[in-house]
């Protein structure tokens, strides 16, 4: 593994050690007197009705799928934003036979955004943004 990841690993270990340590201290200091009533899920003072793992609105699932579509596509913008300013990225484009100019760089991303916008309009037309 490269040296570059040392700070990340160090932070993870430190943070985990701190969190586990704090919980452990709480474990030893705090009281432990568990009763069946304490272990009941909270339902505003009533005895719980049914199990909590039940069906919920399909909308949450659809929003999740929508996120996958949009966010994964949005991630392409970041490499683009850096590559357009970078000689390496531009030279690679030139070598691939593209006439590299401002218009192309703008056009590329506009095309991409138009595709996203089409998907967005489709989602809107299908009524995903409407909650009933």
């Amino acid at each position: 593994m490269s040296l570059i990841y040392i700070p990340l690993v160090a932070l993870m270990l430190f943070a985990a050690a701190m969190a586990v340590g704090m919980i452990a201290v709480g474990h030893f200091i705090g009281p432990r007197r568990s009763t069946p009533v304490k272990r009941m899920p909270y339902e505003s003072g009533m005895d719980p009705v049914h199990d909590a793992r039940r069906r919920f609105d399909i909308h949450f699932h659809l929003i999740g799928i929508l996120f996958l579509l949009f966010d994964v596509e949005l991630l392409f913008l970041y490499p683009w934003a850096v590559a357009r300013a970078n000689p390496e990225g531009l030279d690679a484009l030139a070598e691939a036979g593209w006439a590299v100019d401002r218009g192309l760089i703008l056009g590329e991303v506009l095309f991409f955004l138009v595709l996203l916008a089409l998907g967005w309009v489709y989602v809107w037309r299908r009524g995903l943004l409407r909650w009933r």
Partner: protein, 402 residues
Amino acid sequence: MAEFFAQYMPAWGAYLLTALISVALLLAVVGLGALFFIWAERKVAGRIQDRLGPTRTGGKFGWLQSLADGIKLITKEDLAPADADRLLFRLAPYVSLAPSYAALLALPFADGWVGWEINTSVFFLLAILGLEVFGVILAGYASGSKWSLFGGMRQAAQVVSYEVPLGMCGVIPVFLCGTMSLTTIGNMQAGWATNWLIFHDPFTFMVFWVYFTCAVASVNRAPFDLAEAESELVAGFHTEYSGLRWSFFFMAEYNSMFVVSGLAAVLFFGGWNGPVPIFASWKAAGGGWEIVADLAGCLNFIGKAVLGVMVMIWVRWTLPRLRIDQVITTCLKYCVPLAAFCFVGALAWQLASLPSPNDWLSPDPAGRAAVREPWVERAEDGAERSGTSGAEELARLAEDKR
């Protein structure tokens, strides 16, 4: 710092020591920051609601209140409901806390004062902040309580929706500066306040507000705090948590608030570069003065980030909570198109080389217009743009101007 230690020991040892020192510093910052923000929130909330907030603990102003609360929480019983998925229930607070800490690692506090210097830090920050939602979803699902489940599901839908406009707002400073390194982006905004990216053009000005809205939503603060929604869902996803495990969610939340505000400060408000370039000459003097200048920059950055957090607190105690459909609609119908519009606008502004206020307002030619279209720079000097070291970048840009 690594260079300093490298005089006395092998390279990997110096690197490890540097990493450990910066990580320890960051954890200290995080701990103290969370204590301070929780106290500040209670004081501000008190004042907004025409009461005093904590006044007794620690003498004046109740400044030890959060520490006292922390000690109280340690002595509380750590409970799990009988229906809970024990492993996930216990894991969730850690999953929530770890990303918000790790995000600080890539956040520069001053020029070069960053725990982990990577040239993709914007990307890293947004990615790792997105991980925090897993903790909340796990907590909501694993608790085995209906309130928790509702909170977790709402949080999942809300945070993933707001990732999209947040990412789109974040990419605008990135393409204006041509780099994903936060240190370089911060250094490119050196000089007068007119050089800050928020004043670069009307679109960056507009997109900052979109960014701030989405940031508030993505750290799950009111008016977007639907996952907690204490007046409708009891306490939302952390209904079943108690003691320190419960407090971990709050440490994560306050820490994320600081991180998104800090990110806004670097991306739009020049980071450690003040409204007036007082310390530029000190920085150039080198030696001890350079450290003093960096320290002042660090305080400057922390001031801006804390100001952002204070605005979030102010907003929380002033605005009513939205409904879940309003939250999703705000994101998908308003924030996403606005961010996309600003993206195209800022891009067109830069490609057309339209003026930014810095071009005529800055009295100092050397500090003027460090933010330039990278394309023009390249055509002019034809030199290599490594984009690794912020200080080098700035020196090169200043050279070009002369």
